[in-house]
Symmetry: C2
DNA sequence: GGCGCTCTCAATCAAATGATTGATTGATGT
DNA sequence: ACATCAATCAATCATTTGATTGAGAGCGCC
């Protein structure tokens, strides 16, 4: 009879539960990957019954879609945190780098789960529908910065903005896949990206 | 052609079966991802019984390891196809680009399965043990090219070889994740990489 | 023929897993 | 006090899935 006492109120309103479920799912995905995601584990992580989980989120498909949505929300919120208006392309690029640095620090699971979803989007149209615009959003932001940077004369003038954007997002994403023994610091990568695209890079991570 | 003709007979000798199993597994992973890999599907794809599959490959773990090995073999074979000795860093870089182009054309499933494995390596030490050296091998090849390129004076002289290598492999890997609507051609990406690192790029995909 | 080895399969198991059912609990409005 | 509804759970179901078993078939060799 000596069950551990529930520390918080027993019932929670719908939306809070959904968010808690999404958060738990993200934690598990970050740890075990999408393949290792089990409804039971999520329920246990939240501290509720599997049936309750299914009450709030009808199916596993819906659950993954929910996670994708929270990912999008976090991502957009992060990018909206710093105003871009009136800034030069160069400033925007550094801002973008800072955003990434911040995300790496504060929400590492965001990127892990994101890459996991990206992989899945290849064969799951429902996920693709949410993740594709998200990734596009990120890339387009870089593409736009490069386009303006060339215009403003602060960037190398023969840049192909779309290709440069893909290279940049690819490098940042790959930086994450650094499970490898081939250790490179984020500052090294960002510094090299500066030298690759900017005419007179500040060349110091300090900025 | 000095080898024996394919024994169409009911029975196949061990090593051939193992290769057929690996090939089938790769096809399925490419289509449905590692999460969607089922021993039954593989057996059906090869045209054998599940038990027979387990006779040749004891467990699913072993099977995935086997796939990782064939991946490594294909990868190394591809890279060994063109001799590197006596070539300049610039020539080597272009050779590397050509290799990638070739792989994209001839063995697209190689890269799909590889990225899938990379993702899994993060939490599966057995896979990591095989995939990590492979990815490192690829990156180190680029790092070495960049190092020599700077030395030879044909590359931008402030390159950080390790960072540049990561950017390059990241860009190529990300090119693959181009499920997105944000379409960029491989030539665009390779061209931009040239301009980013080379002093006087040929600047034409023709080379 | 008989022996031994490799290879194959139908049948089956045990565990995992997504989902459902039917009942109970608490809050809220009247 | 009562009705209603959202939220919860224990128990259970129906499949799926990795793996095993036991019984052979084909083949070479003596």
């Amino acid at each position: 009879m000596t069950f551990e006492a529930p520390p918080i109120s027993k019932r929670e309103s719908g939306e809070d539960r959904r968010l808690a479920i999404a958060r738990a799912a993200r934690a598990i995905i970050a740890e075990k990957g999408l393949e290792g995601l089990r409804t039971r584990d999520i329920a246990a992580h939240v501290g509720i019954n599997v049936a309750t989980l299914h009450y709030h989120v009808p199916s596993k498909e819906a659950l993954i879609a929910l996670v994708a949505e929270t990912l999008r929300d976090d991502f957009k919120a992060q990018s909206a945190r710093h105003p871009r208006t009136g800034k030069s392309a160069l400033q925007c690029l550094y801002l973008e780098f800072d955003d990434f640095r911040e995300t790496v620090e504060d929400m590492p699971d965001l990127i892990i789960v994101l890459t996991e979803m990206v992989e899945r989007a290849r064969r799951d149209p429902a996920i693709a529908e949410i993740i594709t615009p998200l990734y596009d959003f990120w890339r387009l932001q870089f593409a736009e910065i490069f386009r303006r940077g060339v215009e403003e004369g602060s960037f190398r003038n023969d840049i192909d903005p779309a290709a440069a954007a893909l290279i940049t997002t690819g490098a940042l994403a790959d930086y994450w896949r650094q499970w490898t023994s081939f250790r490179v610091s984020l500052d090294q990568v960002l510094g090299e990206l500066e030298r690759a695209f900017i005419i007179n890079p500040v060349s110091s991570q300090g900025r």
